[in-house]
Subunit: 354 residues, 2 copies
């Protein structure tokens, strides 16, 4: 079967020919429909994040997938059922407390593999197998957009964790700001618009730009961080109750505190490289304390968040999902899916259709 | 009546002669028993924090008080009832949403006064008045130690907010570390020992030292931050599930992230001055995200936390409370209460006894 992966001695994603996998006990065989490409894939390709499966000279990419059950293999799934796989897997198949509790997203480094990212092949192939416990059923009418369920699940978790921090008091948030205008940022912007009166989205692009067009279309306010750095958002717009960071730009973790309104919370999701810089650590500390602010990091997601994401996706406007998908590549000509130009929002590799 | 305060043109706390206050509608008159001195008082005295009541040339100090109702004034309180006052008050008597909800601790700057700290006289006088809604009844047998209820309430709030951040998943914390060996740190250390298997307390003192003796007596582990900086606690001891920062030393906000175990939370309570320094902002950001960590600031507390604190105080060992109180000063000779030597833990000004 065809698969897209990286080789240790290769120079980027390439078409590989592999055997169709055989499902083991408790696993189903899934025929892949579509697989999305995101920033993590680019980090994996660049070697900045993740790691190859042990003993393998290559890793199949892809962790945002949607497919159809080809062989239920006695798992209770139905043949033809549309499913989306979660990403984290037991390392070398060995379970631990986090997997037992259904919370592999809370496992520390070393206690999980991530398909297509660290330790295990991804889903960017004509077929993949997965324990049925890690496959989330999806209504057939969402199959085309099912690749968005994994990224939406990331935001479901981030929101759950961030909002839980404000539970001990009566939080009345009105405004939210998304840092980052990639596909995750834009999906999140739409999600936050359902909950907040006013939203902002920060990018570094000149108009005209397809992401800024979407921000406008959503009725949100675009902030160009070259003109208004994140810590100056309160001066130029307003201090915001919620900041969702999806840039991986390290100064944003600190600037988020200044962008927040009193009693606000900032969710951090980016994964920057080491980077030394100077901050006013006293002012940062002081501001967090005197205004009851919170910074919370979240990574990955678990089954519940995927299930919420299915709901959320079913409510998303089709124009948004269509506008987000800027490239649909064939596995035999996959290069366009890994281009990273300003006209690319979400690239998809399509293996099959329903 | 005698009062202890600071004058705009004075040079430190001094004995003032003032009129006994008259309770207004909804207020009771309280005869003061004891008032504790803490780090905030020293910041107020030094001019680093807070502000004088408008139009006044002096401010009466004191926000950790316990007293006895002298005139209930139709408020429903009983004459002779032991009470502890909360600290925040409506600015110029004007209410707002935070006071309406009973959550003045969540009010941003400008939307509250704090007795003895900002905008309103404190409790360090023979008598004070207070709205009865801001007086918390205390059992008579706790009167002597009632000055600890305000600081304990600060920790009740901090713990409530910090632990709420871990509610979305199954958190199984085992270890906690208190940064700071002042009276608040030591009280908190005892509180955390009721909940965590292993505790640590960070200070900068040579043995023999009365605070280190208390840490030992509590069965906790003393960490000298001159030998083990906070970010090296994992290397020298273990990474900890909960960090409670009560130092106001700005680098601790950043170092806390490194001291935390995966999925850990750090509560910040100190109030540092501005201070520029260099950090590895990339590593900080990355560590918060990849290990689901959280930093939460909390300030002040409200009625519920005072009520919890009464419970907590009733369970505290007497030896601890007695060891914490290193000075009991008379208002006519108050200087010893404001000395800040290594043998001082909690100083108290005693106006009366039951």
């Amino acid at each position: 079967m065809k698969a897209i992966g990286v080789r240790r001695d290769g120079d980027g994603p390439e078409l590989l020919e592999k055997d169709r996998p055989t499902p083991g006990p408790g696993e189903a065989l899934v025929r892949t429909l579509r697989v999305g490409v995101d920033g993590t894939d680019h980090e994996v390709i660049g070697g900045a994040h993740g790691g190859y499966p042990e003993g393998e000279d290559h890793m199949v990419l892809g962790h945002e997938a949607v497919g159809v059950v080809e062989e239920p293999n006695g798992t209770g799934l139905d043949e033809g059922q549309v499913v989306v796989p979660t990403v984290r897997r037991k390392p070398d198949g060995e379970t631990n407390e986090y997997f037992r509790r259904g919370e592999p997203d809370m496992a520390p480094e070393g206690e999980y593999f991530e398909r297509g990212i660290v330790g295990e092949h991804g889903f960017m192939a004509e077929y993949f197998t997965s324990p049925a416990d890690f496959l989330v059923p999806v209504p057939e009418e969402l199959a085309e957009y099912g690749l968005f369920i994994e990224p939406i699940s990331i935001t479901e978790k981030a929101n759950e964790h961030a909002f839980a921090t404000r539970e001990p008091f009566e939080w009345r948030p009105e405004s939210a700001c998304v840092l980052g205008n990639g596909s995750l940022g834009l999906l999140t912007l739409w999600m936050l618009q359902q909950k907040f009166d006013r939203t902002y989205c920060v990018g570094r692009r000149d108009r005209p730009d397809p992401t800024v067009d979407i921000i406008d279309e959503l009725g949100s306010t675009y902030i160009d961080s070259r003109e208004t750095p994140v810590d100056e958002i309160p001066a130029d717009h307003e201090s915001v109750d919620y900041v969702y960071e999806a840039t991986g730009f390290a100064p944003h973790s600190v600037q988020t505190v200044q962008a927040l309104a009193p009693n606000g919370v900032g969710a951090l999701l980016g994964i920057p490289e080491p980077w030394d810089f100077e901050i006013d650590g006293g002012a940062l500390h002081n501001e967090i304390v005197l205004h009851n602010k919170c910074l919370i990091g979240t990574v990955n997601s678990h089954i519940k968040h995927f299930e919420y994401a299915v709901e959320t996706l079913s409510e998303a406007p089709k124009w948004l999902l269509d506008d987000l998908i800027t490239t649909v590549a064939d596995p035999t000509d996959v290069a366009p899916a890994f281009e990273n130009g300003d006209d690319q929002i979400k690239a998809v590799v399509e293996f099959d259709t329903l």
